[in-house]
């Protein structure tokens, strides 16, 4: 009787809530999504190919630009992979290891804060955005104090750390850590038990644990589905085995559970930082570099190493030919890219408004998706 036809909408690449340059081609019937097709590649810079033309230390600043809201963990992944290839993982001094852990946990907090801010404003809650940025600012100040940069940190080196901690830095961290727990409570008081927030997130974009594993989803989306898998615990690196923390997991695998998981992860990161401060104080100042040659020339071989970045499993696969100072091939396994592939399945049958919530809950950074 009626002429029903679908509408095709280009959601992005320039759209306020696609978190960068993601483009989703939507086929919608009214407001209901029939099909969502993510198109990526608008931020492709050929980072992997660039790595082949650069010596290993030169690559580190380029890793910053992949997941540009979590550059410390990007550095950590790359640096550790090269160290593993060279077989010097055991030689990294304790102080450097602790500093790496501290920086990456601070980075996890700042990345999750940015996620919460944008996720909340996508769903229409405006205020958490500013509250999150208030705390994120303090984390970025700490980064700036350590390495001079706030976003692209370039704060790790093969075999150790570039500089020792500046005086007073640990006090700054301590001050932040003491207050941060209350700040998380404040965000939760705005959202967690909010009826509208729950209506918008509970039961949206459910991923079953089996599907999550099949798709290779990692990080908070995987844990939100109830799978206990955290690389800090499953394949420990640095000094994580010595630190106490708990792995939060969800039950239903919906957007709300992923939200709860990330909120809890921020608390756990805070706890890790609390433990690190006295440990760092015990280590001798200045002992931040392993005694290795200045020229990084790993032996012939290949290695895959992955760490738990704020968004999931961040893996580097490096092949060295043993002769040159640069990698023969370097492949990056970005968590956002792999997690993003669940979007069409998650979005099907939901409304346009939910797509926005789903893009937020996957927590993608397009710099990392496209590399």
């Amino acid at each position: 009787m009626f002429d029903v036809h679908e509408m095709e909408v280009n959601f992005g690449p320039q759209h306020p809530s696609t978190h960068g340059v993601l483009r989703v081609i939507l086929r919608i019937d009214g407001e209901r999504i029939i099909d969502a097709k993510p198109i990526i590649g608008y931020l492709h810079r050929g980072t992997e190919k660039l790595f082949e033309a650069m010596s290993y230390p030169m690559c580190i600043p380029h890793t910053d630009r992949m997941d540009y809201v979590a550059s410390a963990t990007n550095n950590l992944g790359f640096v550790e992979t090269v160290e593993k290839l060279m077989g010097i993982t055991k030689q990294i001094p304790k102080r450097a290891q602790l500093m790496r852990v501290m920086l990456s946990e601070l980075q996890r907090i700042s990345s999750h804060l940015l996620w919460l801010a944008t996720h909340a404003i996508d769903i229409g809650a405006m205020t958490p955005f500013f509250y999150c940025f208030r705390e994120r600012e303090q984390v970025l100040d700490l980064f700036e104090e350590y390495c001079g940069a706030r976003l692209t940190l370039n704060c790790m080196r093969i075999g150790g750390m570039p500089d020792d901690l500046p005086p007073g830095w640990l006090d700054g961290v301590e001050k932040f850590v003491d207050k941060f727990e209350d700040a998380v409570d404040e965000y939760e008081s705005l959202l967690t038990n909010n009826r509208i927030w729950k209506k918008r997130t509970v039961g949206i974009g459910v991923i079953s644990p089996e599907d999550a594993i099949d798709w290779g989803i990692t990080g908070p989306p995987l844990r939100g589905s109830g799978v206990e898998w955290d690389l800090r615990r499953a394949q420990p690196y640095e000094c994580y085995p010595e630190l106490k923390f708990e792995i939060p997991i969800g039950k239903n695998g919906d957007t709300y559970d992923r939200y709860l998981v990330r909120m809890e992860e921020m608390r756990q990161s805070n706890w890790i930082l609390k433990q690190c401060i006295p440990l760092v104080k015990k280590t001798p100042a200045g002992d931040i570099k392993a005694k290795i040659s200045r020229v990084v020339r790993p032996p012939e071989g290949e290695v895959y190493h992955s760490i738990e970045s704020p968004k999931g499993e961040l893996g580097y696969y490096i092949i060295s030919d043993g002769k040159s100072q640069s990698a023969y091939r370097c492949h990056v396994r970005p968590p956002s890219f792999v997690n993003l592939q669940a979007l069409p399945a998650m979005a099907k049958g939901h409304l346009v408004s939910d797509l926005v919530a789903l893009i937020g809950t996957i927590d993608i950074v397009l710099g990392e998706v496209d590399r």
Partner: protein
């Protein structure tokens, strides 16, 4: 004789309307600044605090003037593929009812502070405000943009849906007061009690529905900036965009005025005939009139600030949830309210007690109960299940 009539029915109302209009529009323009500053205050930031500093104007107050100047000077872009006539009509249509309504609202004790005293004023206001949606639909459709179209459609569905509880919630008040005349309704409240108490549920429905009518958070779906970019006004720029804003803020103001007139005693400040009733204010002469108008404006501002407070607090509803809320909760609730009010009033007539007192006591009890619920220690925040650390 003719001169007399002309003065009474044309000149005076026109003058009064212009004065009221200018005052209201200044408040509307200022609301933009108030909203941004207040949101800033609530969100741990500053808000606009710079403009006018060079001229010694404090707190960025010159922003109120700077914004319109910016809107006038900006390039007015018309999309080449738009439906030109409808595109131009879009921003203008909502303005007309939004402005017209201001001559029907009693700002203070009549006759001086009422522009036109119409005995079906309330009905006329409802009829006028409901036409505001045409501009939004037209503008959304004429832009020839899919986001605009979706914004316009959402707005149409939303306004039509919430017009119903909006209208139904007023019926209870009409039954108690027995008139469509806003002046009569206000006087009635001064002689008895604010309609808030006997019509608590109606007041609540009215509050929700007026938020939805004005496309304000948590019902700002037509312009949901994270979903539809800017909804129906995506393609509008410069003064055309400003017209949409002006219409939105004006109709916010209208709804707040209605809220105050219907449920909060308008310009009076009296219970059971004691306090600042219309008679007392009129006895004070012009001063009393101004006092009444001030009381009215203050009450209106409280509700305007409430809009801002809501905006800072709530996430946005999803479209189907919005419809559910409207049709499955608000309308049945409003109908139930009408039924209960009717039964109690009728029983009161039959068995010789004041039905309104019963309703008021019930309303006050609900308020107290809600306050207790709100102020009791909160349930613990739910956490994600943690796997105990190894």
């Amino acid at each position: 004789m003719t001169q007399d009539l002309l003065l009474r029915y044309l000149i005076w109302p026109l003058v009064k309307f212009l004065v009221a209009f200018i005052i209201v529009q200044v408040i509307v323009a200022a609301m933009n600044w108030v909203e941004r500053r207040l949101l800033g205050l609530m969100q741990a930031r500053l808000g606009p605090n710079r403009v006018g500093r060079e001229f010694g104007i404090p707190w960025g107050l010159a922003q109120i003037v700077a914004d319109p100047i910016k809107f006038i000077l900006k390039e007015d872009i018309v999309p080449s593929s738009s439906e030109k006539v409808a595109y131009f009509l879009g921003p203008m249509l909502p303005l007309i009812p939004a402005f017209l309504v201001f001559c029907l609202i009693p700002y203070g004790p009549p006759p001086t502070f009422v522009v036109t005293h119409v005995n079906v004023g309330l009905l006329l206001i409802l009829a006028l405000t409901s036409t505001g949606v045409y501009g939004i639909i037209l503008g959304g459709w004429a832009s020839n943009n899919k986001y605009s179209l979706m914004g316009g459609l959402r707005s149409a569905a939303q306004m039509v849906s919430y017009e119903v509880p909006f209208g139904l919630s007023i019926v209870g008040v009409l039954m108690l007061c027995g008139s469509f005349d806003l002046v009569h309704i206000i006087n009635y409240q001064a002689d008895h009690i604010w309609n808030l108490f006997p019509q608590l549920i109606a007041a609540f429905i009215f509050l929700v529905a007026m938020n939805a009518e004005n496309n304000r958070t948590p019902f700002d779906l037509p312009e949901a900036e994270s979903e539809l970019v800017a909804g129906y006004h995506t393609e509008y720029s410069a003064m055309k965009f400003a017209f949409f804003m002006l219409a939105e803020y004006s109709s916010m103001m209208v709804n707040c005025c209605l809220m105050v007139s219907l449920f909060f005693g308008g310009w009076t400040m009296a219970i059971n005939g004691y306090g600042l009733t219309t008679g007392v204010l009129r006895g004070m002469g012009l001063l009393g009139g101004i006092l009444g108008a001030l009381i009215f404006i203050t009450k209106v501002m409280v509700f305007m600030l409430m809009y801002i407070w809501f905006r800072a607090t709530f996430p946005r509803f999803r479209f189907d949830q919005l419809m559910d809320l409207g049709w499955k909760w608000m309308i049945p609730l409003a109908l139930a309210n009408i039924a209960v009010t009717a039964i109690v009033v009728l029983l009161g007539d039959q068995f010789d007690f004041q039905g309104e007192v019963v309703l008021s006591i019930a309303g006050a009890a609900i308020i107290v109960f809600t306050l207790i619920l709100l102020l009791r220690p909160r349930a613990k925040v739910t956490h994600a299940r943690r796997v105990s650390e190894a």
